[in-house]
Amino acid sequence: MEKAIELIDVRKHFNGTHAVRGVSFEVLDGETLVLLGSSGCGKTTILKMINRLIEPSSGVIRINGKDILGQDPIEVRRSIGYAIQGIGLFPHMSIADNVSVVLRLKGWPEDKKRDRTGEVLDMVGLEPETFGPRYPDELSGGQQQRAGVARALAADPAILLMDEPFGALDAVTRNVLQQELLKLKQTIKKTIVFVTHDIFEAFTLADRIAVLHEGRLQQIGTKEEIISAPKTEFVKDLLLRPIEQLKDFKEAH
């Protein structure tokens, strides 16, 4: 399979603190890679370097074999879908306007824009007639996240970056959305980079998982590979922690 995204020895430091300390990995075409780690591990920084919201201090990032640092960042971003946690929706625009805003930036004609907006809203399970004219704060958290995903999908980008899109949702809703994303994944065949700190979410969605800790890549592989042969102490701890917690919980009763 083709390499969709490639990072080679990418580093990032902000005023002396090292957020990312030399990370290299590849994301294959059509694959879902989950960046897993606790807050401050550098996973969001890596994600934002892929669409050039953050410039790396050193290293190379290629998309479809081309170094993105040599390209217009606006063009790079428009070719990538981006969904983030919480209130990424524009509060002053209706859901339909929010979803079609990338199409507007690309100068699509009005009727094509409307058709495509309806299509992606359907795709994420929001009835366009009902939800299109509403404003973000008239939607539940789960519905807002669906709209956020629809917006990321609108321009039909080959690559989708998702930064804890379900992080602010309750467990039940999160579960429903994860299942729907899994189904959606099958139909749309996109390359997805998904950031989370939730190990179960990672295992549910990922084709492969990249475990990060303190700016370093600990291990990358399928969930089976990671469970059967954890490479570092950190990965071992990460896998054991839920079991330990469960045990503590039992003893307390």
């Binding site: 606006i74 790079v76 971003r77 981006y82 983030i84 209130i87 929706l89 524009f90 990338v102 970056l161």
Partner: protein
């Protein structure tokens, strides 16, 4: 307030309202066009912020009258232009400040989403930042417009018209009805302007109109603009530049009764020759009148020799002989400003000590020197200016060797009442004030000629006499026509009896066979 008082003045009220609207509208409009882009510019460059806010803030603290006087000196014009510049400067601060605050208030998460989907900085500004900052920016515009309506009342001081014209006239003539005729409409205008801008804000907010059926689309937006459009219709049509009839000779005056009477007298005399006259009365004081005259914005106004000597020429030599002062100022005016002094009207509106007639009689007070034995037990009421000026009380004490037992600083308008009610025993009056005969006060003769003479005379541009030779002849007849007592009585007719100045003047001139 009697109805006919208003109905009589209705046409002028409309004219002044239009002028007021134009002053406010143009200045707020310019401030919006300048302030919002400036605010956007600053929001990208935060280091500019303290700078700009400091500068605009300082402008805001300049007292409105000082600002108008400064602009007058700077651009050499009275009327609409300096007024609009001043109003624009005042309107800038709230607009810039709210633009910057509004733009900064947009959540970073939202901006990141915008950037992440590939918006250019311009698109981010247009599609996200400005719409989200709009309520705050609109609030700034509303503040600016309301402030503007208020400050525009002061524009009358530099002859820019507006509702301040009534207020000014009311203040000069101590006529509360005139003050209210300016103040009440301007307050109502402020409320209406605020409402009109709120309406636009409502119209721009598609979301708020969403569930209003027909009003949710374009008709609603148009409807929301209607209240503002009404203002444009009333204020528009370029009425401002034809405010008041244009005339061949432009006559100015300062903003108190005596000046209005004298200027009206000049006007009526000139009109008698068949020339048309433009009355630009009630300008905000000596400096404004002088600048306007020197720059050719007006052709003449009545001035006092002593004022010209001290305030305009700032002369070191202070002669006390009236003829000497007159000769000095007319020579210097011609040399420095190419302005001509005509022959004085005859009276001397100087500082004068005044006591009640009963007190004068009882204690035998005729001359200032007579105060010597009584002063230590007297309570004096002075204007704060007189208490401080070297040619006021400090100089007086040295010249006469007289000191009062107690001195109170009083507002000029309260001073006369204080004397009448016996709260003070002596005041420093203006010798032609109508309250001297009105309150039966007695003036003490300045037997050591301490106070400089303040003889009033028309001052005019030298060119006027060449262009209209008949003006010189018409005004020459006014020379020596009014003595102190006559001026007091004329002031009394206008001030105390509340008669129309034009009528008082006409009656007087007719009585003199002119």
């Amino acid at each position: 307030m009697p109805v006919e008082f208003i109905t009589e003045r209705l046409p002028e009220l409309l004219l002044r309202t239009r002028e007021h609207l134009l002053l406010t509208g143009v200045s707020t409009g310019v401030a919006v066009l300048v302030g919002i882009p400036l605010g956007i510019y600053i929001s990208h460059r935060l280091w500019l912020r303290p700078f700009t806010f400091g500068l605009v803030g300082v402008v805001q603290t300049v007292p409105s009258l000082a600002m108008l006087a400064f602009l007058l000196a700077l651009i050499g014009k009275i009327g609409v232009v300096p007024a609009i510049i001043a109003l624009t400067l005042y309107a800038l601060l709230p607009i810039i400040q709210n633009t910057v605050t509004g733009l900064e208030g947009v959540s970073p998460d939202i901006l990141e989403a915008a950037e992440g989907m590939g918006m250019t900085p311009r698109q981010e500004m247009r599609l996200v930042k400005l719409p989200l900052a709009r309520p705050v920016i609109m609030a700034g515009i509303k503040t600016a417009a309301v402030i503007s309506v208020g400050i525009a009342t002061l524009s009358a001081f530099i002859g820019a018209g507006g509702l301040g014209e009534f207020i000014n006239r009311g203040l000069s003539l101590a006529d509360t009805r005139l003050i209210l005729l300016g103040a009440v409409p301007s307050a109502m205008l402020a409320l209406y302007v605020s409402f009109a801008i709120s309406s636009v804000e409502w119209g721009l907010n598609e979301r708020r109109r969403k569930n209003l059926g027909a009003l949710s689309g374009r008709p609603g937006l148009l409807l929301s603009l209607a209240p503002l459009a009404v203002l444009f219709l009333i204020g528009g049509a370029g009425t401002l530049w034809q405010a008041g009839p244009k005339g061949a000779v432009k006559i100015g005056s300062k903003n108190f009764t005596e000046q209005l009477i004298l200027a009206e007298m000049l006007a009526q005399r000139i009109e008698a020759t068949g020339l048309s006259v433009e009355r630009r009365f009630n300008l905000g004081g000596t400096m404004v009148c002088h600048e306007a005259l020197a720059k050719g914005e007006i052709d003449m106004y009545p001035e006092y020799t002593g004022t010209a000597l001290t305030a305009i020429l700032k002369s070191e030599t202070r002669p006390t002989d009236p003829d000497e002062v007159y000769a000095l100022v007319s020579r210097e005016y011609l040399k420095r400003f190419d302005l001509r002094w005509l022959k004085p009207f005859g009276f001397n509106n100087t500082y004068a000590f005044a006591v009640t007639e009963e007190a004068a009689e009882k204690s035998g007070l005729r001359r200032v020197s007579d105060l010597r034995d009584h002063a230590p037990s007297m309570k004096a009421g002075f204007t704060s200016e007189f208490s401080e000026r070297p040619d006021g009380y400090p100089g007086f004490r040295r010249a006469y060797g007289i000191e009062f037992g107690k001195v109170l600083d009083l507002d000029p308008s309260l001073m006369y009442d204080a004397l009448k009610k016996g709260q003070v025993d002596i005041i420093i009056a203006f010798s032609t004030d109508s309250r001297i005969p009105g309150y039966r006060l007695s003036i003490l003769e300045d037997d050591k000629s301490f106070f400089p003479p303040y003889h009033a005379a028309p001052v005019l541009r030298a060119g006027v006499l060449e262009e209209f030779p008949e003006v010189g002849a018409a005004l020459a007849q006014l020379s020596g026509l009014i003595d102190d007592r006559t001026m007091q009585l004329l002031n009394f007719e206008a001030d105390q009896k509340k008669r129309e100045v034009a009528e008082v003047v006409r009656e007087f001139l007719e009585g003199k066979g002119l």
